[in-house]
């Protein structure tokens, strides 16, 4: 599998979000600014009248302001974590598990690997860019992050990639995740201020949006890749 093919595959064709469903960016979390819409999600009665516009409790507003996390931060942390853990996974797999024949222990080992790396990265981020890392909603070992990273790690280890290929795959997957999270963030920004059906506001619309995006991304399939790269 050529380098370009790996990049395309992990960034677009096997996108970690749209094709592997590893985590859902911007689902009530970074990438979008919580608006009254989110709180209105609880009560189906969003005032239609323009005069009686509801104002938030100050706490809610502060939260809203604080939660404005740039998507690039998410994408960057994702990419770093994924690349590192992909390589780490390859090392562990090739030098520890395979020689000792402990392949059955692959899952727990990988879980610890990813979790450890995630914690380490978070600690590091706290040092370097506290402004970003100290926000609870962007703590690196988020469920989503773990999920994405771990899934990727398992994919690469099963695909028997070399270390560089694993690194590349990790980076590409991170890029793909960033692309999708940026798109979904922008779309959510639009939906947040629209009068959508109350029962669908928030997570359901996030899922459906992701589903429609997944259909759009079906255009990039393996056949496309093969023809484009002659691979």
């Amino acid at each position: 599998m050529s380098w370009a093919a790996i990049v395309f595959t992990f960034a677009l064709v096997d996108n970690v979000v749209l094709s592997r469903l590893l985590g859902l960016p911007a689902a009530g979390q970074p990438g979008a600014r919580p608006t009254p819409a989110d709180h209105a999600a609880d009560d189906p009665s969003i005032p239609d009248s323009l005069t009686s516009a509801r104002s938030l409790p100050p706490g809610g507003r502060e939260g809203a302001r604080a939660a404005a996390v740039p998507a690039w931060w998410l994408g960057a942390s994702m990419t770093v974590l994924m690349s590192i853990s992909a390589v780490g996974a390859w090392l562990v797999n090739a030098w520890v598990l395979a020689p000792l024949g402990f392949t059955i222990l692959r899952t727990p080992v990988m879980v610890f690997l990813v979790a450890g790396l995630a914690l380490a990265l978070q600690a590091l981020a706290r040092r370097v860019v506290p402004s970003m890392a100290n926000r609870p909603e962007v703590s690196v070992p988020r469920l989503g992050v773990n999920c994405v990273a771990l899934g990727l790690v398992l994919v690469t280890t099963r695909a028997e990639y070399g270390p560089l290929q694993s690194l590349l795959a990790g980076a590409a997957a991170g890029a793909g995740y960033y692309l999708v999270s940026a798109m979904m963030g922008a779309i959510r920004e639009r939906l947040d201020i629209e009068q959508v059906p109350p029962a669908l506001r928030g997570l359901p619309l996030q899922l459906i949006t992701a589903g429609l995006m997944a259909y759009a991304f079906m255009a990039f399939d393996r056949a496309f890749l093969a023809r484009l790269l002659g691979a």
Binding site: T107, P108, A115, L143
Partner: protein, 217 residues
């Protein structure tokens, strides 16, 4: 819970019904929920692991003589949950490989992911009483299993025109919906279809719970 683990999921939890939250946590396993049988295997695994880890962690709490969340740090509890659930997952993987290799192949990387998914709901302090902990985990896991099977059912019937269950005796294990078999709505079998089903399921759950609360108050 502002630190690691399920911390980030909490803001969503404030707004979403727990079942919907579960669906988000278990999102990846929807990929394999293309056939009912796979969904059932996955659900079994999740129930096993979640109940097991809940019991184990409550036992640990109890043995360490510190019931409840108070004394154990968040990260520590998170790591401990990680250990327990991932070991259990490994066990489940091995068992599945032995019992039903086909299913284990179908689940692929997603069986291991269950371990991580459990962190979505697994890190809150397990009840100090193992039985109650087990029941709690069973409750959550049942929600999840139901959701997963519903999604898988919808996707398989519409997307493939079949309902695949376990072969038993004369029954080959597959029910055919002849109306849809020749030209099924394949798009629903794709990842996008899974996400759509999840979305509408989540909306339905929320609508129902909203009506419930509305009636109760």
């Amino acid at each position: 819970m502002t630190d690691a683990g399920s911390g980030p999921i909490r803001p969503a939890a404030m707004r979403e019904a727990p079942a919907v939250l579960l669906l988000l946590g278990f999102l990846p396993s929807v990929v394999v929920a293309v056939r009912v049988v796979d969904a059932l295997w996955m659900a079994a695994g999740v129930l096993l692991v979640s109940i097991g880890s809940a019991v184990a962690r409550s036992l640990l709490d109890w043995s360490s003589g510190s019931p409840g969340a108070s004394t154990v740090g968040q990260t520590a509890r998170w790591l401990r949950a990680l250990v327990v659930s991932s070991l259990l997952t490994a066990a489940f993987e091995a068992a599945l490989l032995a019992v039903a290799p086909a299913a284990s192949a179908a689940l692929g990387i997603y069986a291991p992911l269950v371990a991580v998914n459990l962190l979505a709901v697994g890190t809150d302090a397990a009840s100090p009483r193992p039985l109650r902990a087990a029941l709690g985990a069973l409750h959550k896991g049942a929600w999840y299993a139901a959701g997963l099977v519903v999604v898988a059912f919808a996707r398989e019937v519409l997307g493939a025109g079949t309902i695949t269950l376990f072969p038993a005796g004369g029954f080959g294990g597959t029910i055919v919906v002849s109306a849809l078999l020749d030209q099924p709505v394949r798009a629903l079998g794709l990842a996008g279809g899974g996400l759509l089903c999840m979305g509408y399921l989540a909306a339905a759950v929320r609508a129902v719970s909203a009506r419930k609360t509305g009636r109760s108050t």
